[in-house]
Assembly symmetry: C2
Homo-oligomer: 459 residues x 2
């Protein structure tokens, strides 16, 4: 970076907020000193500074990489020498939580967890929740349209965003902060930026819709004879619990047994069945969600949908069930290599998909370890494949096995995690040529020089 | 229209589907023989025909006006001599209702009511519901991002659309029919077309997310001392009923008394209070929604939020309550002129807004009749102003009174109904200059010749 460029950026954000050298160390998985190399890292303190920064960088033709909490899983934040990273960690102010309008207005650098806590003070809830809540920022959640465990009831981040402020690549501040649930006045432009992974502009402020925090939660683990019972069990639970069913997660027996063992948790049901489901019901003070959930499971047992079930009798038991679902990370260390995938499919095609993937994986010698689990109510499966061979050839073979069936089954190679840099070659699995061409045209009107998070999503 | 043009269009859709002359008569309110004048009306039978039509018309430079059920309220479907109307009434096939994936796949000319009935056969529900359901089409619902009575629980049409097929102005078929809840692979382009009022392309097919049909519904009417109690009553009901609260509507006392009288319904509560609310709770088979709703109202009474309440004891009583809410149309005939508005605001600003509007209307001589009611949980108010003077000057004065406060209070001049032709001058009330400029750029890449529903929304 030239000295005049550095001086110009320092004039905008202050000398202490223009950093050079080893920017992050190695604290974020997936990121390395190499792939976070950059000319500079700048930390603007407000929207006006972001605007001035982008105006300068865009005129100078310097590539820009926006950074939230660096918790993305598809290398959407990697940078190269010569790039300028715009890190929003200083823009971490919650402007207000309004208990009448039930909205949270905040700067984009606020972490999801901070937003959740501020909402809880008013007995309100940010419905989006992901494991990385402590570091992930609201701006990053918007940029990646984050999902999580409660999507089936409350939707993706897209469904919670009532307003956005975005600084466009050329520095223009686009204010769409109305915060209205209904505003059918012209095109809903904020939708363009949600899930665009920082390639169309930098989200600087958000208006998030809040929901009433549930007063009661009941959690159960159920065992089924096979995956075949999972879709009718979901339907059964949806019909019996209505809007009180807030989570429905599936675990294959191998995943269930393995994460329980690696988490030092005694499996609440013997790991001898064909499929497992976690059901969570949430309700208001007057709802007896425990009784409702138990009644739902009792009829499911009568109808042969499940073979066994346990309900959590304490918060510790509830946490144990969720730990079995969420603690996937130790699995990665069981084999020399382990690759994770995040696909989605119509639920009606899951069984077909799993059969194909399982049988083709079984043809590899030595047979890889295959785990599958996830948000089946949203048609979202997380897959993990552990292999004794860690070479690039094995990686490619497994990837092909996981992704190839998606095209004919109408699936997506990225349900929640986005495309970033890592999955660009998969965009055409889940998008038509016409769609990709139109994405490029949209990109071209907002970022004609191609400087904004260059190379991500569209390549 | 030239003879070769007519012949070319007849070759695409068949001679019987190219109509000239008096196209609709006067059956649709707001539309007249004059504002539905057109060179031709064509009725394509499938997507390939829509594509071929648009390809021809676009090359020939002939303006195109798409027509759904003509139930829009902002003159979004008006046409001029020389335009070609593309009417989708023949594309009325439901392709499938999938009870596992809980989606409906249909052509855009299917009416909302037909889609609702097909879903009900599987105990599923199309959550969007509007009074015009019998004529309004799914394509029109998408084009206008229709709202209705259940938005507070299920969202707008946008929140139910999992897939779209759109024919772009130049005839290209853009297939975005994945139907996946989660597909974070690139920009979510279908969002662009939802709510674009036919100005960016013609929606030809949709994938709609269905929800479980509630097994039980309970409805109540409550009276409050004044509007001041409405926001805390909403919060109270949301906290007590959670996801079971599916409708919360407000009626001002004058509207309540007048529609009851004009509907020949004995007001269930004397029309002597300051504000009225309709609460509806829906639940699963196991939910005692009647008891839940009554308990909610009992505590609201204890806390002074309401003064009186009645719950519907039969479907007839329930219908009576909803008729009082919905039967606004006879009010239009009470005065020589009556104008209707559809605005939205943060709920916290409603009282301030209503006070300003009421006091300025009171300064007009003779004082106009003012009614307000609507979906307060979504921040959406419908206003009606009846006047003894029906001239354009009075129309303008009243419009100014209704719309002017919105800008400072952060409201929208069109919550549900769209912009169409009628409200183009109001776009800048609820959108920034930057937003409007970007809308024009989006329009320019999809419709560079400006032929698609020309003049609507952006002018």
């Amino acid at each position: 970076m030239s000295a005049p460029d550095v001086a110009a950026l320092e004039a905008i954000v202050g000398a202490g907020n223009v950093l050079q050298g080893d920017l992050y160390g190695l604290r974020n998985p997936g990121y390395t000193r190499e792939n976070l190399a950059a000319g500079l890292l700048v930390r603007p303190g407000n929207t006006a500074e972001v605007s001035a920064l982008l105006r300068y960088l865009y005129r100078a033709g310097i590539p820009i990489v926006p950074h939230g909490g660096l918790t993305g899983l598809v290398l959407g934040a990697v940078s190269k020498p010569g790039d300028v990273i715009v890190n929003l960690e200083r823009m971490n102010r919650i402007e207000r939580v309004d208990p009448v309008d039930r909205v949270l207005v905040a700067e984009a650098g606020v972490t999801l967890e901070t937003a959740q806590r501020a909402s809880e003070e008013h007995h309100l809830m940010v419905p989006v929740d992901i494991a990385a809540r402590g570091s992930a920022t609201l701006g990053g959640n918007v940029a990646t349209n984050a999902g999580g465990q409660r999507v089936m009831r409350y939707g993706m981040t897209r469904d919670m965003i009532l307003g956005l402020e975005v600084v466009l690549p050329d520095g223009e501040v686009l204010c769409m902060m109305s915060g209205l649930v209904k505003n059918n006045a012209g095109y809903d432009l904020k939708q363009l930026f949600i899930g665009s992974e920082g390639t169309l502009g930098i989200v600087t402020r958000v208006v998030m819709r809040l929901h009433e925090a549930p007063a009661r939660v009941a959690t159960a683990l159920a065992a089924c004879q096979s995956f075949e019972q999972i879709p009718p069990l979901l339907r059964h639970a949806s019909q019996h619990l209505g809007g009180k069913l807030t989570s429905f997660e599936m675990l294959d027996p191998k995943y269930y047994a393995t994460t329980a063992r690696l988490s030092f948790i005694a499996a609440p049901i013997a790991p001898a069945h064909g499929s497992y489901a976690i059901l969570e019901a949430s309700g208001a003070e007057s709802d007896d969600v425990d009784a409702d959930l138990e009644a739902t499971l009792a009829t499911a047992l009568d109808e042969g949908l499940i073979l066994d079930a346990v309900t959590a009798k304490s918060e510790a038991e509830r946490q144990a069930i969720w730990t079995i679902r969420e603690n996937s990370e130790p699995i990665e260390r069981l084999t020399p290599a382990c690759w994770s995938y995040d696909i989605s499919l119509p639920l009606s095609r899951f069984a077909e998909y799993l059969a194909v993937v399982q049988s083709t994986l079984a043809s590899i010698d030595p047979e890889p370890d295959f785990y599958y689990f996830g948000h089946v109510a949203d048609g979202n499966l997380h897959l993990m494949v552990g292999s004794q061979a860690s070479d690039e050839d094995m990686h490619r073979r497994i990837e092909e096995i996981v992704y190839t069936p998606l095209k004919t089954l109408g699936g997506s190679a990225s349900a929640e995690h986005g495309i970033g840099l890592e999955r660009r070659h998969l965009l055409n699995v889940c998008r038509s040529e016409g769609e990709i061409a139109l994405m490029r045209r949209v990109k071209s009107i907002l970022d004609p020089k191609g400087l904004m998070n260059a190379g991500k999503v569209l390549g």
